[in-house]
Amino acid sequence: MEKFTVHTGRAVPLRYSNVDTDQIIPAVYLKRVTRTGFEDGLFAAWRTDPDFVLNKPEYKDGTILIAGPDFGTGSSREHAVWALQNYGFKAVLSSRFADIFRGNSLKGGLLTVVLPQPVIEQLWEMVEADPATEITVDLVNREVRAKDIVEPFELDDYTRWRLMEGLDDIDLTLRHVDAIAEYEKRRKPWLPVTQ
């Protein structure tokens, strides 16, 4: 997993609330056998509309998504996180995320940041007025900065550490690889092997 410390980039204003996982990545894309390449399925239904924000050239290079409240409701599909990451998003800002989506995103290295709705509104206006506005998501200091805005956000120490170190669950378990090897020595001698 990529380490996340401080990220500065352009942002995409997504003025919708209650964006569910079916809208983030429709079910037809779930039949794939890969973990990459889901960017084409991201917001697939909306992207057929030329006026949809992701289709506008000025937002093409956005790496931070500023979403409305209740982002990521619906199914538990991890594909929703992959689709956002595959597209190039590093962080999503919203005033409220669905629990499972938030859990999946923080496990997978996509930083989801909860900000008060008025701040989200301010950021929307800012990047709509000037799409080249740069926003900084600073995990080290737990704050979001953009022009004159400096807004702190909360994230527990453990998750912050894990993201800053770029450790996924497997990495964390692999830190105990000695314990696993020790355990393997005391397994019952008759346990079956498949090969």
């Binding site: 497997i170 105990h176 498949t194």
Partner: protein, 465 residues
């Protein structure tokens, strides 16, 4: 301190325990199939990781394999891609795979026990909820999600918080014609589809002890439908006899050591379960479902219930919705419900005993006009065994279709599906809306009821013939 069997198996597998963190559990056997593994393999590849223990891993093709013409390319491109991807991944990561046409191919939960890979006291996982089947041997076996599949591949462990424990005591003796499937359908009807939530169920009591291994698997298989994470049955002589001589069962001195250890696994006298449920086997009769969840079941002798009879408003609303979907009227005798399709198979009831039981009923009889019956063995070995016993001839003579091994109409990922409005009597485990095909209507039944229903064209038991 007195411990339950589930607690013993858990303790035996703790690799690491730390305050405030989940236990890190060692996994003895990882079963893999084509649907839930591709992204896990891809995840490994992206992170440059290997399988820690390919020798504790086995793969098969089951969920979307066709059950006819298995040597032709798979017509459906999605299914074909998944199967081909599994083949590539298995070769690249060194995993033993049983592809279509292989003698050991079959439904993942049928081949593990058959090979003797499923043994008492083990931890077994698979990206599939019906992994609970393997608990029939006194193993702790549960389904996991795709990122956990990847975690097991890379580390052979899983971080887990302990489950709660629940005892389902089935005392008494089953009447003739009443089977394991009827027990588990009655259990689920009693405790509800959420009754086992967060628990490992241990099935106990005289009626359970007297069941064969295959029947025990049927029961543990449907623990999921009762909401539980896993189901278990204490190993005993029946278990040992089933295992002895299987390809991966211990041999010689190791066998004796293993049996010695397996005998220590059953729940200690005085151990306390978080929850207990009681059921009397003497009172059971063939059980069938009328609704769209496995808890909506009644004895075959009774009628479609009236939603008004449910005091719980949530259950009442669910019953109304189910009856509308199933196109059934309250008060209709279950025996009067006409069926289009009979499906005999799945990891619940696709083993040799199930086929034998159904063939016994069908012998010298015909499938009713207008009824289609599919017989899908749970594995290639089951198929061969059935053929060796002449069961295939009985099925074919009765007018049933005799197919290759796989999940088939259990979930309709392959071409074996119900058409909208069609109604099946199915020996599988889920009667959800559209499970066997969009708009299809499913009644869950035992193999005996399935066979009798095929003959009469309406839900029936062998006693009706």
């Amino acid at each position: 301190m007195a411990r339950t069997m589930a607690e013993k198996v858990w303790e035996e597998h703790v690799v690491r325990r730390a305050e405030g963190e989940p236990d890190l559990l060692y996994i003895d056997l990882h079963l893999i199939h084509e649907v839930t593994s591709p992204q896990a393999f891809e995840g490994l590849r992206l992170a440059n990781r290997k399988l820690r223990r390919p020798d504790l891993t086995i793969a098969t093709e089951d969920h979307n394999v066709p059950t006819e013409n298995i040597f032709l390319p798979i017509a459906d491109p999605v299914s074909r891609t998944q199967v081909e991807t599994l083949r590539k991944n298995a070769a690249e990561f060194g995993v033993r795979l049983h592809p279509m046409g292989d003698i050991d191919q079959g439904i993942v939960h049928v081949i593990g026990p058959q090979l003797g890979l499923t043994q008492p006291g083990m931890t077994i996982v698979c990206g599939d909820s019906h992994t609970s089947t393997h608990g029939a041997f006194g193993a702790l076996a549960f389904g996991i999600g795709t990122s956990q599949v990847e975690h097991v591949m890379a580390t052979q462990t899983l971080p887990m918080t302990p489950f709660k424990t629940m005892a389902v005591n089935v005392e008494g003796k089953l009447k003739p014609g009443v089977t394991a499937k009827d027990i588990i359908l009655a259990v689920i009807a009693q405790i509800g589809t959420g009754g086992g939530q967060g628990h490992v169920i241990e099935y106990r009591g005289e009626a359970i002890r007297s069941l064969s291994m295959e029947a025990r698997m049927t029961i543990c298989n449907m623990s999921i439908e009762a909401g539980a994470r896993a189901g278990m049955i204490a190993p005993d002589q029946t278990t040992f006899d089933y295992l002895k001589g299987r390809p991966h069962a211990p041999k010689g001195e190791l066998w004796d050591q293993a049996v010695e250890y397996w005998k220590t696994l059953p729940t200690d006298e005085g151990a306390v379960f978080d929850k207990e449920v009681f059921l009397n086997a003497d009172e059971l009769s063939p059980f069938v479902t009328w609704g769209t969840n496995p808890g909506q079941g009644v004895p075959l002798d009774s009628v479609v219930p009236d939603p008004e009879s449910f005091t719980d408003p949530v259950e009442r609303a669910a019953a109304e919705k189910a009856l509308a979907y199933m196109d059934l009227k309250p008060g209709t005798r279950m025996r009067d419900i006409k069926i289009d399709t009979v499906f005999l198979g799945s990891c619940t009831n696709g083993r040799i005993e199930d086929l034998r039981a159904a063939a016994e009923v069908l012998k010298g009889r015909k499938v009713a006009d207008g009824v289609r019956m599919l017989v899908v063995p749970g594995s290639q070995r089951v198929k061969q065994q059935a053929a060796a016993e002449g069961l295939d001839e009985i099925f074919k003579a009765a007018g049933a279709e005799w197919r290759e091994a796989g999940c088939s109409m259990c979930l309709g990922m392959n071409p074996d599906t119900l058409k909208p409005g069609e109604r099946s009597a199915s020996t599988s485990n889920r009667n959800f809306e559209g499970r066997q095909g969009k708009g299809g209507r499913t009644h869950l039944v035992s193999p005996l009821v399935a066979a009798a229903t095929a003959v009469r064209g309406t839900l029936s038991s062998p006693a009706d013939l």
